[in-house]
Symmetry: C2
Subunit: 496 residues, 2 copies
């Protein structure tokens, strides 16, 4: 788990409680927190003192990494990586998730080492020396198009820092592939990670460019040149202009310049939406009247109707282009992290209760309001405890800074991150059960479905997560549904 810091106490008497459009005391480009105090009196109202002194978690230290042997023969031969990451698409391109247990053990924030990576091709090359001179354009249906360097982004714009959980739309896809092969590769349940991102709200850049009246969408394009062109996608202009959504052009991850796999030197971060919209190695922000016509916008990150087969989909360009099937907000999902896959519990020495634990997340800013556990296949449910570590950031006073950006959370009630749930269960009850299944519900009272919604790209897989309980030789052995990539194991392969 990460380091905890105590926050200085400030008074909070700024109006409005709706998002600040500009923040006066952010410290662009500095890494020190609270370098300059603001001028408000240091004595907070007594009733808030206790609240303001709460602490938040900082990221775990990254362990040293190096260029791995298997990367030497690829175009990514300059990129340092962590050998624990599990490769999902062979050696290259680099698509990886961490081991689920190690991800969970890092806690709320994920180090850059273990953060999942979704690369479509090789990593665009940008040295430390080149980073600040990297440019991207803001153009299209705007009155004042401009090109800006990363240096100017940092030095001339107000900076913000807040935690965001990124999730690949393919998280848990392996389960779909076991049922029926989809067009996507096999993510386990660790295709998500949370980091502290520092950057500039995209609304600030768009307002500088002044979108024209016909403007409705914002297209992003990266520097990663692929067989079907540069990777690109779009979201709605209204979302970009809405501070509540927190869409950001980010240049730091966990207080450091971006790692090459995470978009060095600059990328988009979209809380609550699938990772595929958070374009890395950003080169263009283009305002348009229509959604992006980029190949990857149309033929990736969609949930087609379940009846469309992979074969049939080839001849259905109009179905692919139907924006109703494009995925933006995440759907509700959850997984059991402990007991982990193949964990054994010796009954002779086991404590009376076992703490079942895992994560859950909602989409589009929606919070998880309950996680329920069943030991009898859904006939009855038990209510787990939920913990939202991101709430600690909301207790940071307005104007507090972290990694050179204001901690922009105090006014937000929307959720940007995953949460953790746990439940202590008598070991005797676990021993009497065939399986442990969980489901989460969001604040819109939408609950994870019992059954899988299989689709041609295998995305947004979110049925109840099921861990099977085996009894053998005086112990309980737990089995997860799948293992990521081509790794064997998991009850789904046995029952298919």
């Amino acid at each position: 788990m990460g380091v905890k810091v105590e926050l200085a106490a400030h008074t909070v008497d700024t109006f409005p409680p709706s998002p600040p459009r500009t923040v006066g005391n952010s410290h662009a480009g500095t890494d020190d927190e609270q370098e300059e105090e603001d001028n408000t009196p240091p004595t907070p109202p007594e009733e808030r003192l206790d609240q303001l002194l709460k602490s938040y978690t900082l990221p775990p230290q990254s362990t040293p990494t190096q260029v791995l042997a298997e990367d030497l023969k690829t175009p990514d031969h300059r990129v340092n990586r962590d050998p624990r990451l599990i490769r999902l698409t062979g050696v290259h391109p680099f698509n990886v998730e961490p081991p689920l247990t190690e991800l969970y053990d890092e806690g709320f924030l994920t180090s850059e080492n273990l953060h999942y990576v979704r690369n479509h091709g090789s990593v665009p090359h940008c040295t430390d020396d080149e980073s600040l001179d990297w440019t991207f354009a803001v153009d299209g249906l705007v009155e004042k198009p401009f090109t800006i360097t990363v240096r100017d982004l940092i030095e001339t714009c107000d900076q913000f820092t807040y935690p965001v959980t990124l999730v690949c739309a393919g998280n848990r896809r392996k389960e779909q592939n076991v049922v029926r092969k989809s067009k996507g590769f096999s993510w386990g349940a660790a295709g998500l990670s949370t980091a502290l991102w520092t950057g500039v709200p995209i609304g600030a850049l768009l307002r500088m460019a002044k979108p024209k009246s016909a403007a409705k969408y914002v297209c992003f394009e990266g520097a990663d040149k692929l067989p079907n062109g540069y990777y690109g996608t779009s979201v709605k202009l209204n979302w970009c202009l809405d501070e509540n959504r927190g869409i950001m052009v980010a240049h730091k991850m966990n207080g450091q310049p971006l790692h090459p796999d995470h978009g060095k030197p600059v990328r988009i971060i979209i809380p609550g939406q699938i990772g595929g919209r958070s374009v890395k190695w950003l080169k263009k922000i283009t305002v348009t009247a229509e959604p992006s016509d980029n190949w990857y916008h149309i033929y990736d990150n969609r949930v087609l109707p379940t009846t469309v087969s992979p074969d049939a989909s080839v001849n259905l360009p109009d179905v692919w282009k139907d924006e109703r099937y494009a995925i933006y907000d995440l759907n509700v999902n959850s997984a059991i992290c402990y007991p982990r896959h193949d964990e054994r519990l010796l009954l002779a020495t086991a404590p009376e209760t076992y703490k079942v634990r895992g994560y859950a997340y909602g989409g589009g800013g929606k919070r998880i309001t309950r996680v329920e556990v069943t030991l009898n296949k859904g006939k009855s449910w038990l209510l787990a405890d939920i913990h939202y570590p991101e709430d600690d950031y909301r207790r940071a006073p307005d104007g507090d800074t972290l990694y050179g950006g204001s901690t922009d959370m105090w006014w937000r009630e929307t959720s940007f991150c995953w949460c953790f749930w746990e439940m202590s269960i008598p070991v005797a009850d676990l021993g009497a059960a065939d399986d442990i299944m969980i489901r989460a519900m969001d604040e819109g009272m939408m609950v994870q479905p019992r059954d899988m919604y299989w689709s041609v790209l295998g995305m947004m897989n979110n049925p109840w997560f099921r861990v099977v309980v085996h009894k053998d030789q005086g112990s309980l052995r737990f089995e997860h549904p799948t293992q990521p990539a081509l790794m064997p194991g998991g009850w789904m392969e046995r029952v298919k």
Copy 2:
């Protein structure tokens, strides 16, 4: 179905595409559409001409109503009503839904006659003469509290008109009550209706009052005095300040002053949230740091964990007060309207195909992206056609007026209303099926669950809607799950 009107063609060149905070050419207090044209040139860009000439549907005519005999002995003895409405809680208080078929047949917009009603007690009395002098307060954690008359609301504030579907959180509750009695009365599937509402964005009033820094919630209180005080509830301040959400203080419904059952003379309208937050007969808008402590805010409109029984709930005040269980955004839901309950299809004279039809809605502005139909209990699904009549309003040019308010839809991509779906199915296939089941999915890729989430108040019931197909004597007979109130009928009563 309602009347269609042709819109005048305007150019649309106003910036921003994000919501206009003020609109210059609204015509407060007038009922005439387009009474004054704005000054923009009448020739639209050619490529938009076709789009701008599209028409939208106006409300169906209300048929004459009168005070009904059964109301004469109640405190509502002055209120005109439609005898077709089905009473759900005896004679008084007045809680009614229309017959599902008649509701569907009215089309996108519902007349005030057939609009569902949820009253907790007797209707506060307000004559036509008193309406304009009715006052409500804007107070609490604000710098400038004020009291305003309905007259001033109409004459001094910018007015808007748009369609909103209101849905009772208890819609479809009868299904829950058949499985296990909840604490709520038995709504069928017609606890929802759509009207054109005219009024003032609540954000405008709140900005006039200037909320203080600790402000986080907005409480509403009506004039309906009940056993546990005046009816009241709260929503978040950020939502009220967000123009995308469209929360309105309304004084007209379908172009007429509000009917007594619908809040005469003034009420709250909250698109995308449950009807229980749209307080009628508005007397107070109070800004607070905490959610409302009104009895009805705490002990109504909640989805408690499914394990809490009605008996146990009595001793769980902390569970009731847990805001995680309060319902704001609606969840995804849908129903089959045709075939209607007990409809018969003579096979000898039936056409080759039958058009199965119904409604669907999402919550919190989310659109329905697909409705799927299964004739084999979910083994395979068919994709229905979806139609969103509210989109016609988006084609009205910016500044166009209706019932004295700007048609404030052109910039909105969020959904405020129900949609309609249909699918032509070979009669032979219907005859071969045991049942017709449907499920809808929203743009967050959340799908209606197969199984009911029973809860102590029986709210937000949204499992797949199932109509049973009976074959007898050369005909098909269709059976809905339930009939509203204490009306017998429906397959759920037979199989319980």
